[in-house]
């Protein structure tokens, strides 16, 4: 029996794309929306901030070209200079403390979990759970916990006989910033832990066995096998922590306030920028010029340091391995 001829294609004019064109269209469909989003919400605001920073503002009106005057004021004129330096150092403290407390602990936990002790999955979930909560929510909740009158922290200290340690945690210059950093670490600990753990798990088991056969103890294994081989993960975490620390806004805003109380001890550059550009309803006026200058300086600082540091760390990764 002769094969019946294929049914004729329906007589509709379908546009047939070459595979190459189809692929291009597919890629464009994927790339255009995020590119437009990025342009509208990232690039254009950045450019307008750069333009605004060169103008003098009267209230909310732009009144004249100012050259570098806004930059000069935030960097060299008191009291703005003092506030800029103070906020900058607070950012540095945030970064260093998070590196040691949050990321150090995360590395330690990842190494422990890397040995697959009993309940590894359970601990993974427990450590990662706070990461899924919104910063604003966590900040608000912890602000209540740390409230000296109705807060859980002081009440629990009292309940276990440590009432003498009860403090107005967020109200003292000595404890406010570190309390907020602690909350940040509590919320974010799971993320570096998971990243480190994934890196550790990607190391072939043979390396550990070989090292142990050669008589290396756990410290030596961690120092000479694990550490060099997870260096790329460390680079990512260091850079992310750096960028996060210098863009730190939501937690101090929710937990302390826009003016970085008490005594500017929780003031960081992003708060200071926001307060300057958009005003502080309870006392300050908005100044787009100085605010934009701060935003531009902050952006340049983070960009230059992040790029330089990434290069250095990448080179070091090669040296370690």
């Amino acid at each position: 029996m002769a094969a019946s001829p294929r049914p004729a294609a329906p007589d509709t004019k379908r546009v047939r794309l070459s595979p190459r064109a189809g692929r291009t269209l597919w890629l464009a469909t994927l790339l255009v929306p995020p590119t437009v989003f990025f342009l509208v919400f990232e690039v254009i605001p950045m450019i307008s901030a750069l333009i605004y920073s060169f103008y003098r503002w009267e209230g909310i009106g732009r009144v004249g070209f100012a050259g570098f005057d806004n930059f000069r004021r935030v960097l060299f004129e008191q009291p703005f200079q003092g506030w800029t330096i103070n906020a900058f150092w607070n950012n540095v403290i945030v970064f260093l403390t998070l590196m040691v407390v949050q990321n150090g602990l995360a590395l330690f936990l990842a190494i422990l979990l890397g040995g697959n002790p009993r309940g590894t999955r359970f601990y993974q979930v427990v450590f990662f759970l706070p990461v899924t909560l919104a910063f604003v929510l966590v900040g608000f909740q912890w602000k209540l916990f740390l409230n000296p009158i109705i807060g859980l922290v002081n009440q629990m200290l009292g309940a276990v006989g440590l009432g003498a340690l009860a403090q107005p945690w967020l109200g003292q210059e000595s404890t406010a910033l570190f309390s907020i950093i602690f909350v940040n670490a509590w919320r974010w600990l799971g993320f570096p832990t998971i990243v480190f753990l994934a890196a550790i798990r990607s190391i072939p088991q043979d390396y550990f066995e070989a090292a142990r056969l050669d008589g290396a103890n756990e410290w030596h294994v961690a120092r000479h096998v694990t550490w060099p081989l997870i260096a790329p993960a460390v680079t990512i975490i260091v850079i992310l922590t750096f960028i996060g620390s210098f863009n730190w806004f939501d937690l101090p805003y929710v937990m302390a306030g826009l003016d970085g109380p008490p005594g500017r001890s929780t003031d960081v550059l992003a708060l200071y920028f926001y307060r300057t550009a958009f005003g502080e309803t309870a006392g300050a006026l908005q100044d787009f010029g100085r605010g934009s200058a701060l935003a531009v300086l902050l952006f340049l600082f983070v960009l230059v340091v992040a790029i330089t540091w990434t290069r250095i760390l990448r080179r070091r990764e090669v040296e370690l391995t």
Binding site: I60, P79, P168, Q172, G257, P262, A282, A284, L285
Partner: protein, 413 residues
């Protein structure tokens, strides 16, 4: 006949359409008073009943973001027809670049307003008024009548009596003054209540003319008095914020609460059974008259770019009328600056009585026009002073130096 009906129908349709078109004039009215939406609806209903051609859409935004929302909209040319504006520096930030319309010749009733109220919405550059003042605020001490009666306490008149009263309240297990110092702006309020009776009625003018700076002994002395209050504030006051302070007072754990007249409605709302009164700030010596801090809260302005000028002017004229002021005061327990408005509310009546001897709330009225504003400088330092880490003299010095960066009368000294 049929033709005549046709013409009649056409005329009727046109009339209806025109009527429809007229009824379509909608004014947008933006405010930060999210708590007062229902009351404003009632106030607007009264206006709409008298002006059926004009519809007013009231929209309230969160206080903390209002300035930003307002600014962004005005810059983009999308602002509302009627703008609820703050007073003094925050007002100038919008009025100076030309976003608002001068109202002196459009709202005749303004001529009868008290000059001090108008000054809050007057552009210093041209001396014109750009908003109808809507409410004034006075800084006061609230006290819990029941706790005072329970402890057999009389209202203190002098500073020494006040400290003695606070001591007795503390001994009885209550918090004497609910305030904490974690919310910076409330520290300025604390100063605004107690300091004027010590630095006196002439100090504001002396400062504005450069006769004195904030390092004047009158001011430093007043700050030193504030320090004496520290033991009577909320326990661990450094960590107690404004909402917690309100809670302490509302839940009758504290006997006194230092705040502004804006809190009356809020305190009643939070605890309708709370039996509280308004007390005058203590004076240095018996027989002296207490001096309270007073300021204009803001006003109602017309967007310079409104497409409905005539209707917007009609509406702000209503907002300046006694009819509006009376209903406003009755509904919102706020002091209206509109002449002839009287309040039957006993607390408001007490506030009005205290207003007879008032002085401008110094940093807001005098030094919120440029940065660093007086408020920013003093709020930040007062918490540290009350925590004992810096002295009143240091606060005074830093505030003076900060303001001297732009305030000429301080520079030549």
């Amino acid at each position: 006949m049929r033709k005549r009906f046709g013409v009649f129908g056409l005329v009727l349709a046109c009339a209806l359409l025109m009527g429809f078109a007229v009824a379509q004039v909608t004014l947008n009215f933006w405010s930060w008073r999210t708590e007062d939406v229902a009351a404003y609806r009632e106030l607007i209903d009264q206006f709409e009943a008298e002006n059926p051609d004009i519809k007013v859409e009231f929209q309230a935004f969160e206080f903390a973001t209002y300035a930003t929302v307002q600014m962004t909209a005005l810059l983009a040319g999308e602002g509302p027809d009627i703008v609820h504006v703050r007073a003094y520096g925050a007002f100038e930030a919008i009025a100076a670049p030309g976003f608002l319309m001068a109202l002196d010749d459009k709202v005749p009733a303004l001529a009868d307003f008290p000059p001090l109220a108008l000054d809050g919405n007057r552009l210093r550059r041209d001396g014109l008024v750009y908003a109808v003042p809507f409410a004034s605020q006075t800084l006061v001490i609230y006290y819990n009548v029941d706790i005072f009666e329970e402890l057999g306490l009389a209202l203190p008149e002098t500073w020494d009596e006040f400290l003695d009263t606070a001591e007795q309240i503390k001994a009885a297990g209550y918090v004497p003054i609910a305030n904490g110092t974690a919310t910076s702006s409330m520290n300025e309020v604390l100063k605004g209540v107690f300091a004027p009776s010590f630095y006196g009625p002439d100090f504001f003018d002396d400062i504005m003319t450069g006769e004195a700076t904030f390092e004047d002994p009158r001011y430093v002395g007043a700050l030193e008095k504030l320090l004496e209050l520290a033991p009577y504030l909320a326990p661990q006051h450094q960590g107690v914020d404004y909402p917690t302070s309100q809670n302490l007072f509302v839940n009758e754990l504290a006997a006194m609460f230092v705040s502004g007249s804006w809190d009356i409605a809020n305190l009643r709302l939070q605890n309708p059974d709370l039996n509280f009164g308004v007390m005058a700030p203590p004076v240095p010596e018996a027989g002296q008259t207490p001096l309270v801090s007073w300021f204009l809260d803001g006003g109602f302005a017309v967007n310079a770019d409104t497409k409905h000028l005539e209707e917007a002017v009609t509406f702000v004229n209503y907002l300046a009328s006694r009819e509006f002021g009376q209903l406003f005061t009755d509904l919102l327990a706020n002091i209206s600056p509109i002449p002839g408005v009287v309040s039957t509310d006993p607390l408001l009546a007490k506030v009005a009585e205290l207003n007879q001897n008032s002085t401008p709330y110094i940093m807001l009225v005098g030094f919120r026009y440029q940065e660093p504003s007086g408020s920013v400088l003093v709020q930040e330092r007062l918490a540290s002073m009350l925590a004992g880490t810096i002295t009143p003299a240091q606060v005074a010095k830093e505030v003076t130096e900060g303001i001297a960066t732009y305030f000429e009368p301080f520079q030549n000294r």
